[in-house]
Amino acid sequence: MDAIVHFFQYIPLDQLLIQTVNGIVTGMILALVASGLTLIFGIMDVVNFAHGELFMLGAYIGVIVLTATGSFWLALIVASLVVAILGAALQVVTLRPLLGRDPLNTILATFGISLVLQNFALWQFGPVSRKINEPITSHFILFYLEYPWYRILITALSAAIIGGLWLFLKYGKYGVWIRATTQDRVMAQAMGIPVPWVHTGVFALGAGMAAASGVLFGPLVGVNPTMGLDWVLKAFIVVVIGGMGNLGGSVAAAIFISLLESYASIWVSPAQAVIVSFVVLILTLLFRPTGLFVPTPK
C-alpha cells in the first residue's frame, strides 16, 4: 500500500503536462495518417498495407524538394501532390482489377506494393536517416523545456487538414459522391456517380494525406526507409480501436493512443511504451470489438 501511495506522490506533474502536449502532437499526426487509412477502408473495403510506405515516400520527396528549393511549404505541397498521383496510378494498376474479388486479395496486393516501395526507398536513399529542417525554429518555455513552436504548428495544420476533409465530405460535391459510394456502391453507380473514379480519387486523397503527414513529421524524427511499418501498425491499431471506416473515431483513438504511449514513456523506454497500445487493442478486441469510439450498435 505504501508503495502505491509513494508512486502516486512522485508522479512528476510537470513531466505529465509535457507528455500531454507531446501526446497530442503525435496524436494529431497519427490521426492524419489514420484518417486516410480509414477513408480508403470505408469506401472500398481495402486495408491499405502500403499506407506507411506512402507516408515514408512523402517524407523522402519532401527531403528532395527541400534540398532543391529550400522551401519547406513547397516541399509539403509537392510531396502531397506527387504521392497522390502515385497513389492514383497504383490504385488503377493494382487495385482496380481486383474490384469485386475477395477483399483479402486487396490486402495482399497492397502488401506487395509496400514491399516494392520500401525496398525501392532502401535502394535509392540508403538505410541512413535523412533530416528535414524545421521551417520555424523558435521556441517557447514549457516549464524547464524550450518547446518548439513547430510542434504546435503541425498539430494545428493536421487539425486543419482533417477539418477540411470533414467539411469536404459533408458539403463538397465530390464529398457527397464519396459518402454516397460508401453507403451503397450499387445505388451510387445507378445514380450516375462514376464509382471506379471515386475509388481512385479517394485512394489519391488518402495517399496525399499520408505524404503530408510524412513531411510534417519528418523534422521530429528523421526520415528512413523502414519508418513506414511502425506508422502503419499504429494506424491499424487506431483504426481498429476507433472503429473501421469511422473518421471521428479514428481521430479520437489516435489522440487517446498517443497520450497513453506518452505517459507510459515517462516510466519505460519508448520502444516498450508501444506495448501499452497493444494492450489497449487487446482489451478493445475482448470487450468491444466494433471499436471504442463508435456508438453502441443497436
Binding site: 477483399p103 483479402l104 495482399l108 496486393a109 506487395g112 501498425l233 497493444f278 478486441l285 470489438p289
Partner: protein, 319 residues
C-alpha cells in the same frame, strides 16, 4: 468434390520424396543447405496454408510462432546439457503452442481483414518483447548455440552432417505434410473449409465456429513452431529478425506464389521465391534489392494468377 485417382497421387508423391532423398547425395554443399532451407520455409508456409487456404483467414503473424519455436529450441539446447534434439523440439513446440493459444484466443474473435491486422500486431508484440528483453533473449544479437546430435534415446547418437540433417528435415516435413493432409481431409478439415465458404451458414448448421477457428490457428502455429525449431537446429542460432514482420510477409508470399489451399503449393512457392532470389543476387550482386522485382511478380500473380503456380500447372495439365 470428385475423388481423385489415388494411385497417381501416391506414385507422384513417392517420386518426389525419392528425388528429395537422393538430392543431397548429388548436390554440392551449398545447394544441399539451400534445399534443406526450402523444405523448412515450405513447412512454415504449409502451416500457414491451413489458415489461408482452408479456413480462409490470412495470418500476417506467423513469424511469432516461427520465432517462438526458434527460441524454445534455443532454451532447451542452452539449459540442458548435453543438448538434446527431442527436448529442443518439445520446448519449441511448447513455446509456439503457448503463443498460438494466446493469439488464437484473441484474434479469432475477428474476421477477414481484422484477423490479418491483429495477427500482425501480435507478432509485433512478441518482437518487441524479444528485442527489448535482452537479459533472457540476447536482444538484438540473439542466441547462439551448438547443434544437438541426432539421437535415439539410450541407444544411439550421432552428429548431424548436412546430408543427414537434410534427411531428418525431409522426414519431419513429410510427416507434417501427411498429418496436415489427413487433417484437411477429415471431417474437421471439411468444417474449416465450410467456414471459409460461408461462415454464417456453418454457424447456423450448429458448428461452434470459434472453437474450430481456435483449433486451426493452434494447429497452424504448432507446425510453424516446428519449422522454427528445424531452422534453429540447422543454423545454430535464434535471432529477433525472424520474429519480425518480414518473415510473416515471406510466408504469405510463398503461399500466394505456390498456390493456396494445396499444402504442396506453399513449398513450391518457397522454392520458387528462394530460387528467384538466389538467381537475382547472382546476376546483379548481393546489394541488388531483389524484393522489388519479386514484389512486382507477387502483385502480378495476385491479379492474373490467383491460384498460384501449382493451381496454374494443375489447370494446364488437365486441359
Amino acid at each position: 468434390m470428385t475423388k481423385r485417382p489415388n494411385t497417381t497421387y501416391w506414385i507422384a508423391f513417392s517420386i518426389v520424396i525419392a528425388l528429395l532423398i537422393v538430392a543431397p547425395l548429388v548436390l554440392p554443399e551449398f545447394w544441399r543447405r539451400f534445399l534443406t532451407e526450402i523444405l523448412i520455409w515450405g513447412l512454415l508456409a504449409m502451416s500457414s496454408d491451413l489458415l489461408i487456404g482452408y479456413t480462409g483467414m490470412i495470418s500476417f503473424g506467423h513469424s511469432a510462432f516461427f520465432g517462438l519455436g526458434m527460441y524454445g529450441a534455443a532454451a532447451a539446447i542452452l539449459l540442458v546439457s548435453p543438448p538434446n534434439l527431442w527436448l529442443a523440439i518439445l520446448f519449441g513446440l511448447a513455446g509456439a503452442a503457448s503463443v498460438a493459444l494466446f493469439v488464437a484466443y484473441f484474434s479469432t474473435r475477428l474476421r477477414d481483414i481484422y484477423f490479418a491486422i491483429t495477427t500482425l500486431i501480435f507478432s509485433q508484440i512478441f518482437y518487441v518483447i524479444i528485442f527489448t528483453w535482452t537479459t533472457v533473449t540476447g536482444g538484438e544479437n540473439g542466441l547462439i548455440f551448438s547443434q544437438p546430435q541426432f539421437s535415439i534415446p539410450f541407444i544411439y547418437s550421432v552428429r548431424f552432417t548436412s546430408t543427414t540433417l537434410h534427411w531428418f528435415v525431409l522426414a519431419v516435413v513429410t510427416g507434417s505434410y501427411l498429418i496436415l493432409r489427413r487433417v484437411t481431409q477429415s471431417p474437421f478439415g471439411m468444417v474449416l473449409q465450410s467456414i471459409r465458404e460461408n461462415e454464417p451458414r456453418t454457424r447456423a448448421i450448429g458448428y461452434a465456429v470459434e472453437r474450430y477457428k481456435i483449433v486451426s490457428v493452434m494447429l497452424s502455429g504448432l507446425f510453424a513452431g516446428l519449422s522454427g525449431v528445424l531452422y534453429a537446429i540447422q543454423n545454430k542460432f535464434a535471432a529477433p529478425d525472424f520474429v519480425y514482420f518480414l518473415t510473416s510477409g515471406d510466408t504469405v508470399i510463398f503461399n500466394v506464389m505456390g498456390g493456396i489451399g494445396t499444402l504442396v503449393g506453399p513449398i513450391v512457392g518457397a522454392g520458387f521465391f528462394q530460387l528467384l532470389r538466389e538467381l537475382l543476387s547472382r546476376i546483379f550482386g548481393d546489394q541488388f534489392p531483389y524484393l522489388i522485382p519479386l514484389g512486382a511478380v507477387f502483385i502480378v500473380m495476385i491479379i492474373f494468377l490467383p491460384q498460384g503456380l501449382l493451381g496454374f500447372a494443375k489447370r494446364w495439365l488437365n486441359r
